[in-house]
Symmetry: C4
Subunit: 126 residues, 4 copies
């Protein structure tokens, strides 16, 4: 376990998955991307809750990240218990039973070009 | 309240809302975006102060974020007590009476394309 | 002083000011931007050191940030004691005698479009 | 050593080096960039491990950063013990025997334009 790095809880406030795309799929499809890194020796069970500006929170979405692996999830692909609403602002709360590192990026191909953004999520330290 | 995550004070130094845009409104309007996440069970009352390179600070701008909700505010839409000056560098100090998570992004459509940026704000830990 | 927020020391590792630009100056000139916020009541005296991959460090570059003000500096405009080398990777060490918040952004207009990036600097906590 | 700043361990979750590029090389070649700053007086010996979604981790890749210097490494240039897989998500664990500051950026020129992203890595504080 000495290789584990990160936190058990993270938050992202800037979610907003563009609904339109230009260019070939899936390489140029607009999407928000949740990036999870599990550097430890134990499988991480992750639950993601989605908060919107209006309406009740949705979730948990359940994911797992194998030991010494990482996993990138296109937020557009979170469909159970309910598809993420496109073109609508949202936030994410990520909880894991093992330390993980969470970053967040966006590919926006609504216009002729491809805009990108990236940030490290906010770690929740109780 | 055990779901609350974040801090009561945040700062953003890199504000600079582009004054011009290309493309259809409002989707492609240039803007800086303040992203507030309230994961807790209590309404968060938020006050935002705006600092410029010259002149007195302006504010507070008052916002609220409902419990278990998030809220994205286009900085261009902060108009009371005074509209944010476009094409001018600024910084933000955010104070909340409940823990919130703050991120900041920019959409810049002054040129033919759409540049994006995103970062997590700086948390003020007294 | 109760309004002060931030740290006295910050580091940026990702500096790399593009040497070429397209579009009208100065709005579309490529540049790295150092963003300094002084939310406190006392003038902040800031010294910036520049580290390169080869050769001795350069500096200090001296700046000040008035109380309750912010200041954005285009790195291309740091010319004393020596102009920043364009198209060359660099890092920055920022020291201030008052708490400040430091973010860093880039506008890259070498190509037909305008790429942007932004991050919060790394705070040095001794 | 009083000038040293940073941490001995860092993690990046959002790695994904684009395989295609447009525009002249090497200025416009798509790449992820690992930015290392060593503000201290002692050479930093750095080992980087690469984690993927599938398969065993790869590494260590060995780098050094001279005292009072910085170093930017294009991830595409990490080829020993094995080239980084392009167009595949990955994460990085960075360990250093001296404090360093780590940031991470991407240049994506797959489309007609040049998208950029930048973030500060996650510091591992044991």
């Amino acid at each position: 376990m000495s290789d584990a790095i990160g936190c058990a809880r993270w938050a992202i406030a800037a979610g907003h998955a563009p609904a339109r795309s230009r260019g070939v799929e899936p390489a140029f499809t607009s999407h928000d991307r949740l990036c999870l890194l599990n550097a430890g020796a134990v499988l991480a069970n992750v639950r993601v809750r989605v908060l919107y500006a209006a309406g009740a929170e949705v979730g948990p979405y359940r994911l797992s990240v194998a030991p010494r692996r990482m996993r990138h999830v296109r937020v557009n692909d979170l469909i159970f218990p309910e598809a993420i609403r496109l073109d609508e602002a949202y936030g994410l709360i990520v909880r894991s039973d093992q330390p993980v590192v969470v970053q967040f990026s966006r590919q926006d191909t609504r216009a002729l070009m491809n805009a990108g953004m990236m940030t490290t999520a906010w770690p929740g330290i109780d």
